[in-house]
Subunit: 119 residues, 2 copies
Amino acid sequence: MDKVNIAEKLSLFTDYWNPRIAGELNGQQVKLVKFKGEFVWHQHDNEDEMFFVVKGTFNMEFRDKIITLHENEFLIVPRGVQHRPVAYEEVAVMLFEPNTTLNTGNTKGELTRENLEKI
Amino acid sequence: MDKVNIAEKLSLFTDYWNPRIAGELNGQQVKLVKFKGEFVWHQHDNEDEMFFVVKGTFNMEFRDKIITLHENEFLIVPRGVQHRPVAYEEVAVMLFEPNTTLNTGNTKGELTRENLEKI
């Protein structure tokens, strides 16, 4: 059992849209990820997903609105809701979600990441 | 579906050791709490518990060691492990844990809080 320093973990990678696993508890995972640019539209049929902004700002686009998230703000996207993160500048995000959650949800493609690295 | 600004939510209360529910997902809850002083020794028999420091510093005491947690660090305490948070100054903490989690775990007493407020 060790503590996790988020800045230290974020310094270990530079790529975007590739979540790392920083912690696991109760069948859930804590992931760290950097966003830049536009992700793909997708939804998670069976998982609610929490996005907590560690550093920076990004927009979570929905079909009917956009929510801008700043540092120390979080958003829970309920299962079944289509969404697309868009980051005009690099942003660091902590995710909290079930360990079954695939980053691209129901939209498998070139941005899909499986067998995530533990850091 | 609305975003949550953590500083704004923390400004809504001043008492210690009384977690508020700031979000719910996948049978888990996101709680915000302020610590100051010494809590009681306890364990959670069925729940792992994550402590993320939003502001300040505190010590998580275990029977065999102490882990000091600073801002933007987190610690996952596995189920069954006795622990006691001790804060020499006020600290603001975000908790992630199953919605069955009682703050004092197996040690019910005057610090036990049930029917937590949603903020």
